[in-house]
Assembly symmetry: C2
Homo-oligomer: 354 residues x 2
C-alpha cells in the first residue's frame, strides 16, 4: 500500500500573521477563546490569513459487520441499509442538519449487506456485502482493506471544495472502533467498550466478552498494531472505517479541512494517524461523543501534541452519521468570518487597552 507522505503545515510566519490579525481585531485579547485557535488552524491548513471554506462535502461511509451476528449491537444489521435509504430520502438527522447548513451530502456504500439501486447522492464502492466475523477470522482480507482505503482516496479526490465532514453508519461498528482503540492505544477491551446504540449493562458485558474473543483470536496482530495498523484494521474491520481512512489521508494530502464526527470516525483517524501522524494538523474534532472510548481516543491522539485535542461541542451526542460534524460546522464558518470581516482597533477607531 502506497501511503502518500504529508507535508508538515507548521509555518511560523503565517501563524504569526494570523495571530497578529486576531490580536488586533476589536475585542480583548484572546476573548474569542477556542474560536481563535480554530481560525489559526484553518488558516494554516488552507495556507492563507483569510481562510474561506468552499463547497463543504459531508461524506457518510456505510458498511456492515460480520461480528453483528454475535449480538454486539442493540439493532439488527438491516438497519444499516435502511438508514442509508433514510439518509438519501432526507429523513435522517444528518440529512436534516446537512440541509440546514448547505452541506453537500454523499452516502457511500462501502460494504453494506444490501444491493442498492443507483440513486442521486449514493456512491457505490462496495468491497463486499459486509465484513466477515472477526471473532472467527479476519474481518477483511488485506486486499479488501487496501481496496476500501483506495476507494476513500478516490472518492475524496473527486469531490470539490476544501473541506470534508466525515461520518458513518454501520450496525456493529462501535465494536470495530473499540477494538481499534484497544489495539492502537494498548488499552484493555473493557475500558474501550460502551453501550453503542443503546445496550443495557448486560448487553455491554456480552459485547466486552465477544470483543475479548476477537482480541484473543488476533493476539499477534494486536501486539504489533502500533507498527502495523493496517493489519489491525483488516482483522477487525470495517469497510466504512477503511474507506474513511483513505478519505482522511487523501483530504489531508490535498490540504482540505477534515471535520471529524464521533467515536467511529475518530477510530479511522487513529489508523490514519498511525500511518501519518501529521493528519492531525488537518483534523477538527467536532464533538465529544457520549461513547466513553472517544475521550480515550482523543487522549491517545493528544500524545506528542502541544495541547490536548478538545472537540468543539460537548452535547452528549452518540448518533454518528456525521451529525456532530454538521452541528459543529457553523463554528468553522464563524472562525473564518471573524478573520475576514471583523474590524481592527485602528480601522474602527476604538481605543486599545490602557
Amino acid at each position: 500500500m502506497n501511503i502518500p507522505t504529508l507535508p508538515d503545515l507548521t509555518n511560523p510566519a503565517l501563524a504569526a500573521r494570523l495571530q497578529h490579525k486576531l490580536d488586533h481585531k476589536t475585542k480583548p485579547l484572546a476573548s474569542l477563546g477556542r474560536l481563535e485557535a480554530l481560525a489559526l488552524q484553518l488558516g494554516l491548513i488552507l495556507d492563507t490569513d483569510t481562510p474561506q471554506l468552499t463547497a463543504p462535502q459531508l461524506l457518510v461511509c456505510a458498511g456492515d459487520h460480520g461480528l453483528a451476528a454475535r449480538g454486539v449491537s442493540a439493532y439488527p444489521s438491516d438497519v444499516t441499509w435502511q438508514m442509508v435509504q433514510n439518509f438519501l430520502s432526507g429523513g435522517a438527522a444528518v440529512s436534516v442538519l446537512a440541509r440546514q447548513h448547505g452541506l453537500a451530502l454523499s452516502v457511500v456504500d462501502c460494504g453494506v449487506r444490501h444491493d442498492f439501486a443507483a440513486q442521486p447522492g449514493l456512491l457505490l464502492h462496495k468491497v463486499a456485502p459486509g465484513t466477515a466475523d472477526s471473532s472467527a477470522g479476519l474481518a477483511m482480507t488485506a486486499a479488501q482493506c487496501h481496496q476500501a482505503i483506495a476507494n476513500g482516496v478516490e472518492i475524496v479526490n473527486n469531490l470539490p471544495g476544501n473541506a470534508v465532514l466525515l461520518g458513518e453508519m454501520g450496525i456493529g461498528n462501535t465494536s470495530a472502533a473499540s477494538l481499534i482503540l484497544s489495539g492502537l492505544a494498548d488499552l484493555p477491551i473493557s475500558t474501550c467498550t460502551g453501550a453503542g446504540t443503546g445496550l443495557d449493562a448486560a448487553g455491554v458485558a456480552r459485547k466486552v466478552q465477544v470483543l475479548q474473543q476477537v482480541r484473543q483470536q488476533h493476539a499477534t496482530v494486536f501486539a504489533n498494531a502500533p507498527r502495523q495498523p493496517l493489519a489491525l484494521l483488516a482483522a477487525v474491520g470495517g469497510f466504512e472505517i477503511a474507506t474513511l481512512v483513505g478519505a482522511i489521508l487523501q483530504a489531508a494530502a490535498q490540504r482540505r479541512v477534515v471535520v471529524v464526527d464521533g467515536f467511529i470516525t475518530t477510530a479511522a483517524v487513529l489508523v490514519a494517524h498511525a500511518l501519518q501522524p501529521l493528519v492531525l494538523q488537518r483534523c477538527v474534532f467536532a464533538h465529544q461523543s457520549g461513547e466513553p472510548g472517544h475521550a480515550l481516543m482523543l487522549a491517545h491522539l493528544s500524545q506528542n501534541q502541544a495541547q490536548a485535542l478538545r472537540p468543539l461541542l460537548d452535547l452528549g451526542l452518540r448518533l454518528g452519521e456525521g451529525s456532530g460534524a454538521a452541528l459543529a460546522w457553523p463554528l468553522l464558518q464563524s472562525a473564518c468570518a471573524i478573520l475576514a470581516q471583523m474590524a481592527s482597533f485602528e480601522s474602527a477607531g476604538v481605543a486599545a487597552a490602557l
Copy 2:
C-alpha cells in the same frame, strides 16, 4: 414597579408528546443528547410540538459605569461608545456573527456617556450618560433603575419574532455583574471577581478591593438583596443590565425564547429570576463564559431546578456583546429542524431496536 407574573409553562401532556416524537425519530433513544432536551424546552416555551423560531432579534444593551473611573477595567470608558459605533458599522464580532446567522441586530443606548446621532439599528433609551460611582453612592436612583427596566420591557414589546438573543457592552460592567452575583448568591467578592476584559493579577486584586468597598458602602442593601433585588441593582448598576432585566421579563411574559449570552447577561437573569423564578423556563444559556463567576451564577440559578443548568457551548469565550448567543443560535435551529423534519422509524421503514 409592577412586575408581571409569569405563567408556569409546565405541561406534562405537551412534554410527553414532544418526548414521544423525539423517541420515535430514526435514531437510537436519546442519541442526540442535549439537543433533544433543547428541542423539548423550545416546544414548551412556544407551546407546540413543532416549534419554529421566527424573526430572531439580537439585542445588545450598552451603558457606562461610574465605577470605571476607579480603574476596574483594562479599557477606558470611551470604548463603550466606540464599540457601539463598531456594532452598527458591522465590524464587531457580534455584527459578523449576526450577519452569518441572519439575526436582526439592534443596539440600545441604555446609558452610554456619549451623544449618538440617530442611525439605523440604534435604539435610543438613554436614562443618563453613565451611572454614578457605586463606591461613593447609588449607581442609579430607584427611579432611574425602574426607567431602565421599563425601557427593556417596551423595547422587547416592540420587537417582532418569538426569540430574543441578549448581549451587552459597557466598560466596567463585569464589576457590576460580580457585585450582583455576590449579593444575590451571598458569595464573597473575591470568588465572584475575574479578569474581565483582561486585567493582570495585580489589576484583579485592585478590582476586588474596589468591589469590596462598594459592598461595604451598601452593606444593608447587600444583606437584603435576595428579597429586594432591585435595590441591589440600583446600588451597583448598570443601565444596560437593568434594561436587560426588563427585556428578559417582557420576553418571558410573551413566551419568547430568551438566549442568554455570558457573564453580564446572566447577571441580568439573576435579577429577573429573583423577581420571577419562572423566567428560567424561557432561558437558553448559550455558552459557559471564561469569566469564573459565570459558573457560580449558573450554580446559583440551578438551585431548585430538576437538572443543573448547562450552557450549550464551552469555548472559553469572554467577549460579551451577545457573541456567544449568536454562536449558539444554529443549535436552536437544529433542535427545531430535528423535530420538524426527521422521519420516524415507521415512516422511514427502519427496524426498531431488537
